[in-house]
Symmetry: C2
Subunit: 243 residues, 2 copies
């Protein structure tokens, strides 16, 4: 049985200001909820159509489909919805290879980039303050649980990068990622979907790279930022396997 | 001034059966429409808020925002909407590097893969009959005009691939794409988002590849199919630059 105040709280968490106010976020679906349950994230409440989560005792509420629909962001709710505490930011390990996002807007792109960081063993993802919130429900779902294995921090990107010696950015006029010796540590910066890397961050870039384009007709303007991230991380990690 | 029959025809083109029946598809937005106008696609009608497309004479209709909203698939229509003829399928150049999709479902993924083929100079994209229709409006928009530079064919994939000697598929248990000598021609097969490559197509695969995973905790189940395509095409093309 769901109370009105539970419904009000959970549906409010679609908005960033209420996520910040309550320091909570929503996870949905059997698979993704399980990934968060297996992680260090702290469960607050869990609502499900059956009692397989009853081990969570007073945090667990069995609900029917009509109740689950009231709190779900899905058009067809998937068995289980849980709320977790937003954890405190952990220190960033700048000595490893780090990915930084300069105002990435699209929740699907951020979710996919989190999944890529997890795949390629990137432990720190550093986001500018204007990057879409990683606890946005669309980001949580697109990351498919990888969220729980990547340390995501929101920072003033210019301030944070100003003390980093190896700032790597991708630009149309950079050196080919296939031709240069890629460093084993540093920060790989990816820019906004429409505008790329901002001028204030570009000023800090020490290595300008590009992904070569092979099409005969040179009209393809750019790659999607998630695809660019995929190609760049693959290339950095391939280099590591050779050294 | 839009007629009722124009509105009915254009809105019907959201559905595949009507696109097939009329052999027409819809393109929206200044940038993407321009890419199609610059290509070999045959313009049928063009509707815009201003008269900059008046050079298309009787194919051009100036409309107001209310009229454009009636035919647009966007919540905020972007200046121009055009219909083009679905072209006849062109012959596939099997002697080059070809990408084949085995039942890719998501329009955004197909659009992104078309854009990647364009970027990496892949001229033929071969789709199984159950792959999402490339003239679906979401595919056309996601491909951002790359659509007009890649030859997309729908075929019985098993029949078509049965005479191809180099069928390359990606699997969790394949050889690392970083370690093997990649061929300069052949067909790179990508599978369905949930199920991967189907058994009937897998039986034809002559080279099993995988994208190595670097995360410490080996829980990331798979990469998104568009990201996998990005990484694989980058790796094939990088190899070509070295030979």
């Amino acid at each position: 049985m769901l109370t009105k105040s539970q419904i009000k709280l959970i549906t409010s968490l679609k908005q960033k200001k209420f996520r910040l106010q309550h320091q909570l976020f929503v996870v949905e679906g059997t698979k993704v909820v399980q990934e968060f349950l297996n992680s260090d994230y702290e469960l607050v409440e869990i609502f499900a159509l059956d009692n397989r989560y009853a081990c969570h005792k007073q945090k667990f509420t069995e609900v029917n489909l009509k109740e689950l629909s009231k709190i779900s962001g899905f058009s067809s709710p998937n068995n289980v919805l849980a709320t977790f505490k937003i954890p405190a930011q952990k220190p960033i390990q700048w000595s490893a290879l780090v990915v930084a996002l300069d105002d990435v807007n699209d929740p699907g792109n951020l979710g996919t980039i989190i999944r890529l960081c997890d795949w390629f063993g990137i432990e720190d993802l550093v986001c500018s303050e204007a990057t879409v919130d990683c606890y946005n429900p669309k980001v949580v779902q697109a990351s498919m649980g990888s969220h729980s294995r990547v340390n995501i921090s929101y920072v003033d990107l210019k301030d944070s990068l100003s003390s980093v010696s190896n700032c790597i950015g991708t630009f149309m006029d950079g050196s080919s990622i296939y031709d240069v010796q890629l460093p084993t540590s540093g920060v790989i910066i990816l820019g906004n979907e429409a505008n790329g890397i901002s001028e204030r961050v570009e000023a800090l870039v020490t290595k300008r790279l590009s992904i070569p384009r092979f099409g005969k007709i040179k009209q393809t303007e750019s790659l999607n930022v998630a695809n660019a991230t995929a190609i760049i991380l693959s290339e950095f990690k391939r280099n590591l396997t050779e050294t």
